[in-house]
Amino acid sequence: MAEDIHLVTPVIDEMRPGRQRRSRNRSAVRGWALAAPVLIISLALFVVPTFEVLRYSFLGENGGVSLERFGKFFGDAFYLKILANTLGLALVTTVITAVLALPFAYALATKPGLQKFQLFALLSPLLINGVVRIFGLQVLLAAINKGLLALGVIQSPLPLLYSVYGIVIGLVLVMFPFMAIAIFASVSKIDDSLLEAARTLGANKFRVFIDIVLPLARPGLMVGSILTFTGASGSYFVPAMMGGNTTITMPVLVFNSVSQMGQWPFGAAVAIVLVTVIMPLLVYSSRKAFSGQDAES
């Protein structure tokens, strides 16, 4: 699309040869002028803060550069467990969300009955802040427990709240729309004729799904999985609200270090460790995001 615009400029240039260089420079300057605000904001609020965290993480007790913060983290099994918990929870969440969202997205694309309602159910939670959603989940799970107890189905309340299970339930609930929408974006692009062709070649519904739909849904699945994993590992309020004090994740540790214990450098180090560990994913997703832009227009 950018090509189209630049097609016009050279034509005009040819008609007025002296103005060639000026006009091309003008459009380049214009380009930078347009980008300037976001470049400045990004520099100030993205690049600089990132460096600040990095700087603080190397801040020694007596000033100066030191690795003691990282040493403190890696030297204590307690903290390592938190890291493991975070990654494990994110992984479990991603798998569960993918398994649940795939049929949902596929059905949304192929059976659009009551599509408005389905989209409403998928998107409206995103209009409400996470605290409300997790709060509602807490009340709901408590009520479920009460109900099951009353019915005599269980003897003691299920560990749904303030537990690892609770965190997973909360994370899946929060991340589900992102995964579903990402998969839907891929699946909805699948041409009907491909599925019909498979049917004429003898594929039953199951084979059509495995051989045609799944492979073509892969891009969406990948995007969704990355979003979910990074979202789950970086989430503060879900583990904070659903984990009780038993299970702590890295973001919670960061917040606690900074707010409750006033240990900013340590908190910074924890944040750096988290980002570094999920870095490969971030790199992959940023590459996807960059190349995705090309495919966009």
Binding site: D191, S193, L194, E196, A197, A198, R199, T200, L201, G202, A203, N204, R207, D211, I212, P215, L216
Partner: protein, 380 residues
Amino acid sequence: MDTNGNADGKNDYLQIREVFKVYGGGGGVRSVSVGVGRGDMLVLLGPSGCGKTTLLRAIAGLAEVDSGTVSVGGDDITRAPTHRRNVGMVFQTWALFPHMTVAKNVGYGLRMQGVDRAEIDERVATALAMVRMDQFADRKPKQLSGGQQQRVALARAIVTQPRVLLLDEPLSSLDYRIRVSLRSELRRLQKSLGVTGVYVTHDYSEALALGDRIAVMRDGVIVELGTPREIFVRPRHRYTAEFLNVGNLLQCRQVDASDDVVRVEVLGQTISLERDGATTGPVEWLCLPHRAARIGGPGQRLTGRLSEVEYEAGGAVCTVMLDDAGVEIVCHQELDADTTLEVGGSVQVSLDLSEAFPVLDEPTAGAMLREQMTVEEIGS
């Protein structure tokens, strides 16, 4: 009686009987019955919305019929799901699986049939060689041109040895030259494999090149059914003559009729026509082939004004508004170096009315068609 030289003389390998498929928003087919002989190609010809694609999809099982039956080789497949019908289908957009190589695409149907690996490889190679795409076995569809994708789609549809081959306007997205060359390749392939086929198109030159029989469709019904020669040289129905641009359509008035001769008055003249055995109602329309109308030329002349000239290779298509009759005549005119055609000028048109033949309008043709079918069934 068999009109297409079919060996067993029957048009009944693929049988469609009284199929109804109506859509809420319009379109679909209403009580369509037609048969296709084994190894023959039936072409469904008509404008968009005439129901030809609906009918094709009904044969494929991609659309469920409201009523009627579809049977192949004696088996009723009307309620069978698509994946059990063993039909090969070539789609307008080719529908090649983008995530599979050419070889995997072509082999997919065989995988579904449970054929073993070695045989799949062999048959895929043979099929690809048949469409001259064997060099491209490991490419992905997006690396191929339109014509190449088309050939792969064809290979994929035939490798499973389907009972019926269905083609949904497969050439319409291709360039003219490729279309023409693929057309003849398609016909050769179909004949050499002896596979029964149904081809949907809106392009009558495709229909004439590919079909053993052509069904001209409009608004969900078959208006006329016949061989290419019958349809194009002597169409029975006015709509067919119009759609295929066979000639000028002239309104006439029947003066009298006997067993074998009908006399009609047209353009101020009275002429006699041979009576067609199957014609029942009065003759109201005549078709005059374009070549029988000429500017200048021998015979009786009518004056008119030249309103349009469109040049083409070797000649021109001239539209003349006749003075007396107030009717437009289109002539395909040969041009030589000195002929000048002035738009707006007065010209003399000569019409060879001996070439005219009657064509029928709406209700009559329907009745006539049913009559024709009954005659066929009794005959075979």
